[in-house]
Symmetry: D2
């Protein structure tokens, strides 16, 4: 049964409802054991605490609720994030580690800083390792020693983009990772990464359990594509859209600055076109927005090149925004291989489109100019804006609260305007994508005026 | 019964939960009559519709829900915003008006533009008046004629702060306003304003009903203070915090640039200190954050001046952020009168504090410097950032959808990550303020390290 | 004899001295005839005027002057720009035209606006045509009608990058252009363009003279490469460097964000590497700065790839900035052809270098990552910053003053901190390039620590 | 005889010509003794050197030169800045100190960093003290120990506004300062400050000479008001104008956002109104620009309030920009006293004007609104933009080159597009102010359309 019939119709709402939440998903959070140590936060006058029985409904539709009531089933819900009165780990001498994996994203350093400050000032847990360059930093063969993270060493790091720890893609043998955790005596591992990393995290948690260790694995969702399931919006996304808009604005300036000129911008978005779509709606200067979720044809009447030609004939300029994962049927194949994260390597649709557009107009004997902009690395490596900064701060704090309480194999998420705990298993069960039947996508289409772009 | 025991503990969550939603509030939306005309949006392939029976739970806590179930009461919920398949007004020849009231705020022009574009392109309703300079533009005595708003005239206005219509504070006689609406033949009035304006809007809707007219009154909540009840975050707030941070950063630079120097920044926040508090958490360079919700003493041991002196002795610089409504017990009195909006005029706590700080240190014979920054007009008159722009676009679209469907005496709001309809009566029943028992305020205190600032 | 022995040694000075001013160049400005009409500016109380006998020394070195004195030759000098008391054209009914040619550059709209405002308010000359899309707008075959430029139509255009007129590359037949000028009854043509355009402008002025017409041709130098001879700094250059720095900063973040990672940025700079060099000095985060003026080898000991490998071995990250014209020996050939401006088409050194770097490290069996950023269109299409805006305003004003006084075949320039008139013939006699013996380049080398990069 | 009759007429030129250079000024640079040590820069392949006989003409007008030739006098000239082949100080064990005095200004940290990097990498002179909080840091009574400045400690400081050393106003006893220099064994003192500081610097150099010491005193001109004589533009000025424009833009938005509304902005400019004037020309949205150099009357026909009323009657909004030193006849008196720098304390013309405007319109019974913005501390405490950053880098490098060569009692300046050495005695002989007969001021008047504002 469709979860959100008639509901999935608003720009931000859709970011959630289109997920089509799996009604039967298990949202129980694993724990290392009963939290029996009084939290050091208890001593602070301003403290307020959250209990494990505080839960947040996964769906806020009254209709969904009535369905549950009729069926006699409990509505899906998530554990509320926040500090617990009793914690699992004794902060005295406790050792934690932070690792950052995958591509860059605005705000990673803010999350690192927030984790370090909360561990130090909130719990008095002062031994914190920064694992270098992603999971490979766990592998002794890499020769990478962890760096010590202190209140001093994270001072000011949020003014810079990127990650002070370095990052990398790709897995490492789970037993090697757990060996290193054991050798370093680490009790909490904070993983800042995306779905690939979450899979690794789940594996690490399994191995930890198998060995009977007491190591908490807590993830903070990081993806510039905003495509992680059960997170309403990932950190850095707002900043990324802001930067994408800067480039698209330039593309528009270029397009109007020469006769029959096309501004073509490729942005991040491997499987989910959120950045392209959001920037399109925000600017309203885009004529074609192509994303992985929406198939299109290049050739034939009604196809993209035909529509582009009509647009140029009518207005003599055009702006095209392209998510990197769009139109992969034209550029991908098994021969492209996989990257270190195990993702299928995408063909470069940006270069391909630039060349195909040129070719098309050469064939029809029309002079056009194409200005191609690929701002990918500029978008993802800037510092976070203030709103993302606040968000990152909260994610970091809640990750620490969760870990100190002995939660594991989970990620900290933001859902229905609340911070919640989500099991890694649920988070990796599906990918968040733009719902083509949503009002968000409808806003894109209204803004561009583009048709189906399928050849008739 | 406390709504959110043990829950009100996260930075963003608190923006909502601390509202302490009134469980018994009536969330029924007034309508001018049954919507029986097919929406022009039906013809568009990408359309998706919302029904009046789609409702969003006001509270997402499972505990709250269980209380309802035990008590046999229905949980409070809001009507979901969005386009309806059937509408009330025939777009043909339909006349609408937009009025902007109260102080400036980033994004007003974005909302105006979104309303105009949605009326025009979505519904084909092309006659749109812009009322000049707030409610006074309705009064023939003002000599202000409405301006025509078209797709052309709103082109590019979102690149500028402020409002192209002009604004003003203060009421006008309700019958004069309704006379003007009748005279101009207006069927929909969009009101962009705050709680004072909402009261006026509710009065206009009453008078419209009394006269048996069919005029829809739809409000878009605007307040730079983020203090409207039942709105999780008002538009422009993110931008305002970003700008406030710019000034506070300068105050920090100044404070460290001279011996025993105090950077003192006054920001917006008449009754609710959200801007001051959010900027404090975002920057983590603030030593004292004073907001209207949190009383403090100037003198005596443990009071603000004593704490400030200790801070300077220890670190030789300090940054103080002050909401304009903080410490009013020191500067306000009946003699200050009321402003045109009917608000009690606030004494200028910024100048007062600057002078009292100087006096204090003169008395204790210590040389200090005070750098006082009042960025109020800079904060509120800049263009919206991209995220606020997206938000404003959605608010404007949903306001049009609601009005076309014949809804009235309501505001478009954002709640639990959904756009919803809220009756004006509910919206003005309470003010949103910083909950001093929330994790948001806890984050402020953690960040500043400030004590209670009450004299012992 | 070397003009600037021992002098050419400061970052900004060099922008001038390295030009190696040709001592014998003729700096006489052509005139259409004697200016005998009183300037309308005479009536304005605040006016102050410049006389043709006010001249500015081309060289400010005392040594150069002494050489002149000993040799009995007059030192080279330029006519000072500014309003003349008597003018040549009667403003009544006067028609002017503006054309913008070549690539975009921040500030073009500022120059257009300044010309329009000065013609209108300063001289009362209100008929102004904007020629569309460069010189091709003169060609009736293009079907492009000129647009009318008024005080209203240029209002706010400086907030946008690009040119409201559109631009294009490449010549048009001189007689066609002059035919159009005659047909439209234009007396003044303002040309905003680079050296290619200046050649066209000189040709137009010749043809005008041949036909015995009274049409003034006044150029405003525009080149994002800052490579026009006898202009100390071209407009938009500061803004371009600011934007280049944004990208290079991102490249640095990327480079430090992954193991053995190289941030590679290609910026504008066809024959002159000013943007690359200035950004390198400003940021001090660049390890290799490659410009057209400085030859380098890729392979062999001491070559670039060898040096890059050593850098990575030592520090595990590197930032490389590349002007588009650098290393052309590797990518250019006659087969590349010429672009519409008649420039040799450059091979894409950016893509080439990215691939050669990858290949090199694959060959030596070392894992490296390359993050390639090509921000060219972002750099050139943003609005001008405030300093460039002031500069553009002055260039536009002085262009109008010169034209009204009947000057022709000249450009308005900035030299030794004065605005001056330079004959087009002198301006196109040479190209401005980075002097490898200058302190400017020395600063680059100090900052990068790079060696000669020539294979031994 | 007037130096620049009929010449002083361009926006940037005027910044120089209006200085009315004193023809007879002595531009001889003091030296501690003959430089006889080979510079370590000699070993570097890319080095190029400047000789003391390389001089730059103070005036570039051909007419001025002819006057000299006729009179048989040598034209005034300045020593060219840059590295010398022989230096005075042995870098081995050499101790230097840097002190920053007076108000903040964008770019101070850039200058500090450049000095440290050039001393360290260029000359191998690695012992560098940072004197804390201005001259008071020399006084043992202050209890302020100098901080050690190293390549590491200045890393990244240019990303922040202000000065890492702290600053303060006011003199200290010269003999105490020189005692401290002796005690610390300092050979070079770099002073970053304004004219008050230069007077102190000249006194220190005198005392050094009297004691027969070998200590070089080299100044870097710093004033946000851009009012130091014989410097064409001071560092940070561009950034300050950029920031002032941000505030004025907001004032314009406010002014148009309410009926009969006046945006009033007070910017820096104690005796010289360069920031106000430059921002006015750059934005072209200002209706009245009031600066110290141009007297105006408040009351009476033709006075400011009369003109403002007429403007409001005509357009219903107005933007007024005010330099802090404007209109001091209304607010200053001997009772205001002097600040620590010995400057007459200025009355607060901003608050005064705000209140007088309100009073005036109350008296004539017209409702107006005044939005008063005082962005002073925001303008001066931001980081430098890229162009100022390049400028600061060059100033710092040249200051080191001068000092190492044994130059003293001088400042590094920028003049006629060259870096030069100017004796402190010449620099403090006059103040740079806006020339009311210049084209720069003419541009202001054209842009605002304001009349004389003197009561008739």
């Amino acid at each position: 049964m469709e979860d959100n019939t008639g509901m999935a119709c608003d720009t931000k709402v859709d970011l959630i409802d289109e997920l089509g939440i799996d009604f039967s998903l298990d949202t129980t959070i694993d724990m290392l054991g009963p939290p029996e140590i009084p939290s050091p936060l208890q001593g602070k006058s301003y403290s307020c605490f959250v209990s494990d029985s505080d839960r947040v409904l996964a769906r806020v539709s009254v209709k969904n609720l009535e369905e549950n009531l009729q069926a006699g089933t409990a509505p899906a819900s998530f554990e509320l994030a926040g500090p617990r009165q009793e914690i699992f780990f004794n902060p005295e001498g406790l050792k934690s580690a932070i690792v950052t994996c995958g591509g860059l994203c605005p705000g990673i350093n803010d999350v690192i800083r927030s984790i370090v400050l909360t561990l130090h000032y909130g719990y008095g847990a002062k031994y914190i390792y920064g694992i270098r360059y992603g999971l490979r930093g766990f592998n002794p063969e890499s020769g990478l020693s962890p760096m010590e993270l202190t209140v001093q060493s994270v001072n000011g790091i949020h003014e810079y983009g990127g990650t002070i720890l370095g990052s990398s893609r790709g897995p490492q043998p789970v037993d090697v990772i757990v060996d290193t955790l054991e050798r370093l005596g680490i009790s909490i591992l904070f993983i800042i990464g995306g779905d690939g990393t979450f899979r690794a995290g789940a594996g690490i948690a399994d191995e930890v359990r198998r060995r009977g260790l007491k190591i908490s694995i807590v993830a903070v969702p990081k993806t510039i594509d905003n495509d992680i399931y059960l997170v309403s919006k990932t950190f850095g996304f707002e900043t990324a859209v802001e930067m994408a808009c800067q480039s698209i604005r330039c593309a528009h300036t270029e397009a109007t600055g020469a006769p029959n000129c096309i501004g073509l911008v490729k942005v991040m978005g491997r499987y989910s076109g959120f950045i392209a779509a959001a920037a399109t709606v925000a600017l309203r200067e885009v004529n074609f927005c192509l994303i992985p979720e929406s198939d299109f044809d290049l050739d034939g009447p009604g196809g993209f090149l035909d529509a582009l030609e009509k647009r140029l004939d009518a207005r003599s300029h055009a702006v095209v925004v392209l998510a990197e994962g769009a139109g992969q049927k034209y550029v991908s194949g098994p021969e492209q291989g996989r990257d270190l994260s195990g993702n299928l390597k995408l063909g470069d649709i940006g270069i391909f489109m630039r060349d195909r557009i040129k070719e098309h107009f050469r064939n029809v004997n029309k002079e056009v100019f194409v200005r191609y902009i690929d701002p990918s690395y500029i978008i993802r490596s800037v510092p976070a804006n203030v709103d993302d900064r606040l968000y990152c701060g909260n994610l970091g704090q809640n990750a620490v609260h969760a870990a100190m309480a002995g939660k594991t194999a989970m990620m900290v998420s933001y859902w229905n305007d609340r911070y919640v705990h989500v099991p890694l298993s649920a988070a990796i069960s599906k990918r968040k994508m733009v719902n083509l039947k949503s009002r968000f996508w409808m806003s894109v289409l209204e803004s561009t005026g583009q048709s189906s772009l399928k050849a008739s």
